[in-house]
Assembly symmetry: D2
Homo-oligomer: 138 residues x 4
Amino acid sequence: MGQRHYIEKNIYYHDTDCGGVVYYARYLEHLEEGRTEYCRARGISVKGLADAGTYFVVASLQMNYKGPARYQDTLKIATQVEKLGRSSLVFLQEVLRGEELLVESHTTWVCVGKDFKPKAIPGDIRSVFERDAKEAGT
Amino acid sequence: MGQRHYIEKNIYYHDTDCGGVVYYARYLEHLEEGRTEYCRARGISVKGLADAGTYFVVASLQMNYKGPARYQDTLKIATQVEKLGRSSLVFLQEVLRGEELLVESHTTWVCVGKDFKPKAIPGDIRSVFERDAKEAGT
Amino acid sequence: MGQRHYIEKNIYYHDTDCGGVVYYARYLEHLEEGRTEYCRARGISVKGLADAGTYFVVASLQMNYKGPARYQDTLKIATQVEKLGRSSLVFLQEVLRGEELLVESHTTWVCVGKDFKPKAIPGDIRSVFERDAKEAGT
Amino acid sequence: MGQRHYIEKNIYYHDTDCGGVVYYARYLEHLEEGRTEYCRARGISVKGLADAGTYFVVASLQMNYKGPARYQDTLKIATQVEKLGRSSLVFLQEVLRGEELLVESHTTWVCVGKDFKPKAIPGDIRSVFERDAKEAGT
């Protein structure tokens, strides 16, 4: 399924806690990086949108932690569009170590203007998400 | 409802991002502090449990972001037990600014041993959670 | 010496790393909190200044790590003005566990405008720093 | 000077604060990554050493902040050995945006055992640092 986008993350001390594993909030940073690089790879500039007064904010988040990652693991963050609405979309993201699924996440992005009020996703970006969502089989 | 436990958090630069608001992953640190202080207030030592080979790990997490917090806000983190199972429990937590609800969260803790395998919550701790869960009306 | 200002910090999982101790960068967040609360206690609003176009930015930093802090330690952050110049000041800060000195830090703040160029510290704030610096014996 | 080692870092929301720039503590995470990748590139496994009871801990740190980095900047972290002692070494590290120097840092690593007491740097690793330090002209 070519519509998944991958980045690679090495795990450093700053990702871990004294339980010996990656701290549960840190994955949210990795997931942000995954979504940003997905957009960049599709020609969507998050910064360009922000400069033009269009922001995507995280409205909700579901995290399922299935196994711990550890210091100096190399992880893959897989990102794909799961659902697409008029002013929102849901990303399905996975944190993988080799073939092993460590974290599964569903993140809802809402498109807002400078007033933080929802607005329709601009057409050109929408068509990018739409193509990926369709090919993802949703 | 006396079973809710509160801590207060001042917001500093390190909590925020260049969107001008508190970064979405940072609340998970505030929520960890809320759960830890809830336990401490109930006489449960997370560290003591860990030293004795009993850990509570976050197995899943639902975050609903309803409004942004900003630099130098003073927030309240409300923590209560929502559900109690044999080897797991769910916390309902809210991030409030005055009366305004900014974030709502459901966090599932699973009780595990040193091998990271689920085990029954020890009886004395269980009775604390049980009492709070009952009085919370769930 | 009454001119030192103290805050208390509990240490949580999010402060630590898999070496079992507080991560070296985390203290910089505690030190930010110490400087901010010092200012607040002296009636100086960092946010008010920023809204008026006056910012204090960290220009340099010296950290000396003398001993590790650990999960669920309660630390004190001591903050005092060490030196005062026309457009800059140096804070001496210490991280203490009881009487034990864990970290010593010298942080140079430069006063800048919206253009990030140095400017003289506004007179009313200056007099606050001056009084504290003098009484600190520098 | 071939002895400098470089990594590249993209800047994300989680690196920044509401001042619109990269938060001053975040660079310490980038610098940790730079030192770890320098070691990896030289065949030194920080994790392997830790497993064998040899740790390098940061004893002191000097940071000079010369200019701000911003969201979606791409930075380079340059790492080289500046000084080498019996049980310690100093890294000179720079954060660069293109040719522009944003941050300069000197970090002292002390080699310690499980008891956190200084010990001589093991010979095989020492010779790696030595070669790099010499060629760096120190």
